[in-house]
């Protein structure tokens, strides 16, 4: 297990470096510089600016400098938020995104696995078809459509929940954003769970358990759930990426001051360092969480450790 874990960790490092290099190159290959759209400056002032932001060095040297900064947790200064560093902006914004993402993921797992298991146990009944119909709808409708429609329904028409983040306090403001983020994942997880649960319930060891007179609830809980969770577990990586992507929209629509909102603002203002920093932060987060999922996979299914 230790060997497996170490190998996984070592495997994640090149991925991370690749991401950083790719993102860095993309920004630096861009035509024009970050100061181009400002007033025309005298060459001396521009040279000063370039020296301040280390833009006058050759590209490989800039890259090494940037990596060195990253290792100290320094993403460089923001080009648009005066006097704020990118690390500071990320540090302030990330807790909001983390709360939203974690809550949405928890909700998606509980509801998705529950609905998928129910559908598998009642295969080909009305219940099954209803759950799967909802799941297909949930997969098809993008987050940025779900969010406004939920706001229109529950905030504008019914007035049950707040539509925005600022100016409201308490748990109510979490409800709509979290549900919006969770819905597509609930749909995916329900479909995955149903398929793998049907597969597992057809295996010999389940028949044996039934023959011993165990009830359905016990069989599912004790015997079927763990093997049936493997596909769901491997979906966790893409799910995390999808929730991060979705959080960009959700934060924009609900006005939550999280990472996604800064990302979009940065992209619209061409704040190169901020956008680069957030992309790298997101990528590192996803790589790290994937690593956790991989290791968990090794814990649950010992076979993968020896592949």
């Amino acid at each position: 297990m230790l060997r497996y874990t170490l190998l996984r960790i070592l495997g994640a490092i090149p991925t991370l470096l690749l991401v950083i290099a790719l993102a860095f190159l993309m920004v630096h290959a861009a035509p024009g510089g970050p100061f181009d759209d400002e007033r025309a400056w005298s060459p001396e002032i521009e040279a000063n600016f370039k020296a301040k932001y280390n833009l006058d060095a050759p590209l490989p040297q800039q890259f090494v400098h940037y990596i060195g900064g990253l290792l100290r947790g320094d993403f460089g200064p923001s080009l648009r938020y005066v006097d704020r560093s990118v690390s500071e902006l990320i540090g302030n914004a990330f807790p909001y995104s983390l709360q939203l993402g974690a809550l949405a993921m928890a909700l998606a797992l509980v509801v998705g696995v529950g609905a998928g298991t129910l559908a598998a146990l009642r295969q080909d009944t009305l219940l099954d078809r209803t759950v799967m119909g909802f799941a297909m709808t949930g997969i098809s409708i993008p987050v940025f459509v779900i969010a406004p429609v939920l706001i229109l329904l529950f905030a504008v028409k019914l007035g049950w929940l707040p539509a925005g983040w600022s100016g409201t306090a308490g748990a109510g403001r979490y409800v709509l954003p979290v549900i919006t983020l969770a819905l597509p994942q609930i749909a995916y997880i329900a479909r995955l769970t149903r398929a793998s649960m049907i597969d597992v319930l057809g295996r010999d060891f389940i028949r044996t358990a039934r023959a011993q007179g165990l009830g359905t609830a016990t069989i599912v809980r004790v015997h079927a759930l763990k093997p049936a969770m493997l596909p769901v577990l491997s979906y966790m990586g893409p799910a995390i990426a999808a929730i991060l992507t979705g959080s960009v929209v959700v934060e924009e629509v609900f006005g939550i001051p999280g990472l996604g909102q800064f990302f979009v603002r940065g992209a619209l203002n061409r704040d190169y360092t901020l956008v680069l920093g957030i992309v790298i932060f997101y990528a590192a987060l996803i790589v790290a969480l994937n690593l956790v999922v991989d290791i968990l996979y090794g814990v649950i299914d010992p076979r993968v450790r020896y592949r």
């Binding site: 090149p14 991925t15 690749l18 991401v19 790719l22 993102a23 993309m26 920004v27 290959a29 861009a30 035509p31 297909m136 709808t137 997969i139 098809s140 409708i141 993008p142 940025f144 459509v145 406004p148 429609v149 706001i151 229109l152 504008v156 479909r191 995955l192 149903r194 398929a195 990586g237 893409p238 990426a241 991060l244 992507t245 960009v248 929209v249 924009e252 629509v253 990302f263 979009v264 940065g266 992209a267 619209l268 061409r270 190169y272 956008v275 680069l276 957030i278 992309v279 997101y282 990528a283 996803i286 790589v287 994937n290």
Partner: protein
């Protein structure tokens, strides 16, 4: 199952037809503003079938323009992902061994990355042009295709006709092009249908955030975004493009699922 396929295909064909012919038949165009009829509700008066927006532009024409963009993205991005995915998967599967292991490991690595953020990074770094969006989306979506094609190639490679071609002295590139690729068409068609909704999703997502298609051009994502600002007084501005986008995505998903169940029972969930 075949009924779902028929219904979704009919729906998609109809919407494509309306999107092509509709703006041409309508008396309005997509940029003309009519300040006497700001935020007019949908109806037959003045032929503003879907109403007008806050600048008095006809929403039927604009929505159909958005559908056009959506469908063009679907086609172009899928073609890009098809070419890359099939080439990559066929080479990995056919050559096999260490090359295959390295190539597929690379795909696994890319799978884990937040591609959409790289596309946004590209949009920030370069001018936001139409073509770049298409290519970027296609470049994201080839991963699934590569995996499927590789799996299929692995089994094709062992077949007698490939053996025969090898014995006849046909080179590897030619075998892949002439003997492997034609046999992949069935499965590739099925999976293209499944990558289309993903491509549409990415484009509308970018346009929704204001990073995709730019005014006065429009797309369903951009229309949903402008509808968001007007939803209290003019909910049709939000609901019509939102419903249309959801319906198109759903139709493609049902179509792809149906085709997969029909032709490729092994892979289905």
């Amino acid at each position: 199952m075949t009924r779902t396929i028929k219904v979704s295909a009919t729906f998609l064909l109809t919407i494509a037809l309306v999107a092509v012919a509709g703006p041409w038949l309508s008396p309005h165009d997509y940029v003309a503003t009519n300040f006497d009829r700001l935020l007019a509700a949908p109806g037959l008066g003045d032929m503003h079938l879907f109403g007008t927006d806050d600048l008095g532009r006809d929403l039927f024409v604009r929505t159909m323009l958005g559908v056009r963009v959506t469908l063009i993205v679907a086609i172009v991005a899928s073609l890009v992902s098809l070419v890359i995915g099939v080439a990559y998967g066929a080479v990995a599967g056919f050559v096999g061994g260490r090359v295959d292991a390295v190539m597929m490991r690379f795909v696994d690595t890319l799978y884990a990355l937040p591609f959409i953020f790289f596309v946004i990074l590209l949009m920030v770094a370069f001018e936001r042009n139409f073509l770049l969006i298409f290519v970027a989306i296609g470049a994201i979506n080839w991963l699934d295709m590569a995996r499927i094609v590789r799996g299929q190639t692995l089994s094709l490679r062992e077949r007698e006709f490939v053996e025969a071609a090898k014995l006849a002295g046909v080179g590897t590139p030619r075998i892949i092009l002439r003997h492997i690729a034609p046999n992949l068409i069935g499965i590739v068609v099925v999976y293209v249908t499944l990558t289309i909704p993903q491509a549409i999703l990415v484009e509308s997502f970018l346009s929704f955030l204001g990073l995709g298609v730019q005014e006065p051009q429009t797309s369903l994502g951009a229309l949903v975004n402008s509808g968001l600002g007007q939803m209290e007084g003019a909910s049709w501005m939000l609901l019509i493009p939102a419903a249309l986008l959801a319906a198109i995505l759903m139709a493609f998903n049902f179509l792809g699922d149906g085709l997969r169940d029909l032709f490729d029972a092994r892979q289905g969930p």
